[in-house]
């Protein structure tokens, strides 16, 4: 058989077979006996679909996780802001109550920085001479005495803190009514001076300003007695006090007018 005839035979077989198959299926279901060919692929397809589904699910979960994390971060930040506002609101309310009760109330101020002087323990307020602040004015919070205005400029002022060693205030033991002077030490605790050994001073006793120094009004809470040493002293007891207002937690303060 010639080459051309063979080719024609191949083509004829191909055409006739396919046409017979297609004509047989006309208006009928496709051949079911060929379906056996598709079984391995269906099985494989099931596996790949399952893997695909799992991968898709994992991908979606990952995307959702990332999105939710972002949302959570945003919510946490927002909540943090709200908390901050709530805290500020509480502090300002306290200051407002101080304004109502304290006759010498001048103004409230925000603490904007720690003092630049490395030797002194000071803070800087956002109000100054323009707001009526003057050197020597008492600075307080609802907890108690903070310090006194030490340096005033037009728009800001510096406050010498209670714990600075240059600071002193005339005080009185609240129960004992004995007068003394509280001085800063440069550390967290202050010392109560000029209390004779005969006086009975208990730990935990509250100390308030006496007003005898002419700077601070009487009755401002200063701190509590934390340590008393009578033995081995010559003239006065060594009394340590812990101020009520820690200067590490200062945010807003109130400045009192001088008499």
């Amino acid at each position: 058989m010639s080459k051309a005839k063979k080719r024609l035979l191949i083509l004829f077989s191909l055409f006739s077979l396919s046409f017979v198959m297609m004509a047989f299926q006309h208006n009928r279901r496709p051949f079911s006996f060929f379906e056996v060919l598709s079984y391995p692929f269906h099985a494989l397809s099931k596996i790949t679909s399952s893997v695909d589904l799992k991968v898709k699910t994992a991908k979606e979960a990952l995307e959702e996780n990332t999105r939710l994390k972002k949302e959570l971060t945003a919510f946490l930040l927002e909540r943090q802001k709200y908390n901050e506002v709530i805290q500020e609101n509480k502090r300002l309310k306290d200051l407002l109550s101080l304004k109502e009760h304290e006759l010498r109330y001048l103004t409230a101020a925000k603490v904007i920085a720690r003092g630049y002087d490395k030797v002194l323990n000071t803070i800087i307020l956002d109000k100054g001479g323009n707001n009526g602040l003057q050197k020597g004015m008492a600075v307080i919070t609802t907890r108690g005495l903070v310090g006194k205005v030490y340096f005033v400029k037009k728009d800001f002022a510096e406050v010498l803190l209670l714990r600075d060693s240059n600071f002193s205030v005339a005080v009185r033991l609240q129960n004992n009514r004995r007068e003394g002077v509280v001085s800063g030490t440069g550390y967290d605790n202050c010392v109560l001076k000029y209390i004779s050994p005969e006086e009975n001073v208990e730990k935990g006793e509250v100390i308030v300003t006496s007003g005898l120094d002419g700077i601070f009004p009487p009755g401002l809470p200063v701190g509590t007695v934390v340590k008393v040493k009578k033995e081995g002293v010559e003239f006065f007891q060594q009394i340590e006090i812990m101020p009520f207002q820690s200067d590490a937690k200062l945010e807003e303060v109130v400045i009192l007018k001088q008499e």
Binding site: I10, L14, M22, E35, L44
Partner: protein
């Protein structure tokens, strides 16, 4: 035996790729490419003998027809169009580049794969129109075929017989 296994495995991989991936919402048609490749590889064997024998043509046609038949069955509709078109692809691949018709060049390779992909699409439309009651949106199918051609053209350029005559 190894040859059958290799080509079978390759065909399975192509089927998987074809069923799992699409391009711009158009199905791909790499089965044409694999039949074409089979034809080209058979061409080498035949060329080495110095003539183009009918056995090689039968093999290539049978391989194409089998691939087409499997594809038809997998599609789950009319069995026959794939059988015919892939069979023709196999047959013509083994004829056109080895006989006196053409010498293989990249341009002819590109033209051949374009023609085979188009032939596949046209046979599918024709057969479905003639032997099936299902409506076929011919323009949509032709657009799909066009995309398939674009995707297959690189294979037409890259795939070549081992011995280029």
């Amino acid at each position: 035996m190894i040859k059958i296994f290799t080509w079978g495995l390759l065909a399975v991989m192509v089927f998987i790729v074809q069923t799992q991936f699409s391009f711009l919402h158009n199905s791909v048609n790499f089965t044409v490419v694999i039949v074409y490749l089979f034809g080209l590889r058979n061409l080498d064997r035949v060329a080495a003998r110095g003539y183009f024998g009918s056995r090689s043509e039968i093999e290539t046609t049978a391989f194409g027809a089998f691939i087409g038949l499997t594809e038809d069955v997998l599609l789950g509709s009319l069995v026959g169009p794939g059988f015919l078109s892939k069979g023709l692809t196999g047959f013509f691949t083994s004829v056109i580049f080895s006989d006196v018709v053409f010498r293989w060049t990249r341009i002819w390779g590109m033209a051949a794969i374009t023609a085979f992909t188009l032939l596949d699409g046209l046979i599918l439309i024709g057969a479905r129109s003639m032997f099936s009651d299902l409506h076929i949106n011919s323009s949509q199918v032709l657009l799909n075929v066009l995309v398939q051609i674009v995707l297959n053209i690189p294979f037409g350029i890259l795939l070549k017989p081992r011995i280029v005559n």
